[in-house]
Symmetry: C2
Subunit: 352 residues, 2 copies
Amino acid sequence: MTGVDIGGVSCPVPLTDSERIQLGHGSGGKMSAALLRERFLPHLGNPYLGQLGDGAVLPLADREIVVSTDTFVVHPLEFPGGDIGLLAVHGTLNDVAMMGARPLYLTAGFVLEEGLPLDTLDRVVRSMAGAAREAGVPLVTGDTKVVERGKADGLFVNTTGIGLLEPGPHPAPDQARPGDLILVSGAIGRHGMAIMAAREGLAFESSIESDTACLVPLVERLKERCGPGLVTLRDPTRGGVASALNEIAQASGAGMRLDESSLLVPGNVAAACEMLGLDPLYVANEGVLVAIVRPELGDAALAALRGHPLGRDAVLLGQVVKDHPGYVVLDTAIGGTRVVDMLPGDQLPRIC
Amino acid sequence: MTGVDIGGVSCPVPLTDSERIQLGHGSGGKMSAALLRERFLPHLGNPYLGQLGDGAVLPLADREIVVSTDTFVVHPLEFPGGDIGLLAVHGTLNDVAMMGARPLYLTAGFVLEEGLPLDTLDRVVRSMAGAAREAGVPLVTGDTKVVERGKADGLFVNTTGIGLLEPGPHPAPDQARPGDLILVSGAIGRHGMAIMAAREGLAFESSIESDTACLVPLVERLKERCGPGLVTLRDPTRGGVASALNEIAQASGAGMRLDESSLLVPGNVAAACEMLGLDPLYVANEGVLVAIVRPELGDAALAALRGHPLGRDAVLLGQVVKDHPGYVVLDTAIGGTRVVDMLPGDQLPRIC
């Protein structure tokens, strides 16, 4: 406790906001990055954690594995297109796949709030089971904790995924170089706006459904088609496509030039974003991937994506460039250009 | 929502307690077991999850790994002898070690409540870093989520541990057979009572400190000394020694006979338990292990344990017997006998 000693009486001084956790620390934007850099890495730093991806590549016996962990706190627990269980399986499988590994195993750790209807738990568990079965990845061990009413929000669930890396080069954020092409596997903004609409009780002409999906089949197609020419993979969740590309730009030291007119935003998502003053580039996706491939592989990669239902709306969004290293620049549909920066903080809390 | 249709008006009926999560579901006792059996396994069942240990043994390439996951929700976050960070590292390392594996990697997933003082987070992260460093196990990847004030309780943290199994037989709960000896590595009841005392503001003559510790060195000593004669290992956390032994009795189908007079309970723990009407056999430990060894290895195992500071108070607590299969029976210090059953539910919520 911060305190001031006044005439022998210790008087507590309220902590300022800068000394406390704020919602923006969970946004996946600049504040999250600062929290990680200032509060976690100085104590926990090691070469694996320093990879700073959505997971870590680890040697194990004579192989390499990938491990990724994510806690899901989405609110509400159920939303059009999915629920927290579906998201928890898809999200972690996708993170493992984005590191170039084939997911093999999942774990689950639940925090349940006293009073949670068992029916809700059943639906969530069934969602997880269905998603795990569909992906062919068993949930191998778990843990359940219960906290008193008012000490959590229904349920939170952590999933950790383990995958095996085939020998050879793997996609990584620092591999992008000028000339490489930037692909996006589908229309953007659906998950974040589905959550916003469900949370705020907004009714749009057509209800927006989350795009939550297991991206493993898309990744397998890209790996098969592009081999080592598949340079970088990322699922643009918290912080959206803009944040994912900024992270890649920073990791690789390359610039990125995007073409806004090639970006696909569903009509209902665009309308909802406009109403709420949000930029779809920053809105979370849970069933979309960003792939960077060597220049000669653009057509092959697009064809590979479009050959699968999850990738049928895949587009070429832009190119890695020599200019403005570390920055992402967008050619807008109306003929201008603007820098697409990292978000500072708190656009949409608790979307995953 | 449960509802009744009355004259065309749908009238919500309050859910009864049996349709909702209760604190006892998180106790590690009978209610936890029922929740797992009724709500998780029917949907998620697979041979790995069916192992029902504190982790799973998994094939990976041509090796076997062990994975264990645990979410920590202990309240208060800091207590005499440790904090949630120390516990989160020790607890998961211990679970991996109890499966007979050498822990190699840890992940961490945080849920932070808006308003948490960053100083508190710093202390917790430093604790985790120190414990991981001491154990020589790097924390390789992590995740941080933030929820609004009042939607969590300071911080929760999930840790998942990955370990490598050496080829050969491994300790497992179903391996115990009549004649085997039951050892306990130290005095019991300290963690649970330290938490109770801190939470309730109870002051005892001497403050009770949690025993939280990394048990990997004890396990390595036992493995070295006993080889395949080390039959079963368990860390008696939630539900205490009584619940751990009941689980082993049920898994192995063997009976167990314990000698109360050999049990070591620190004086302050015994006093606190008596005051609160608790049985130390059911109180959580975080730095104690239960080992079952073949009859001829009792002395060697005791010596191995006592040769390390964490095991200097190790005792022979009892024996696996042919009688009363699946049940644990205690010869009391006053000359009687009683069945030591699983707890139904909610002795001490949120102790880990």
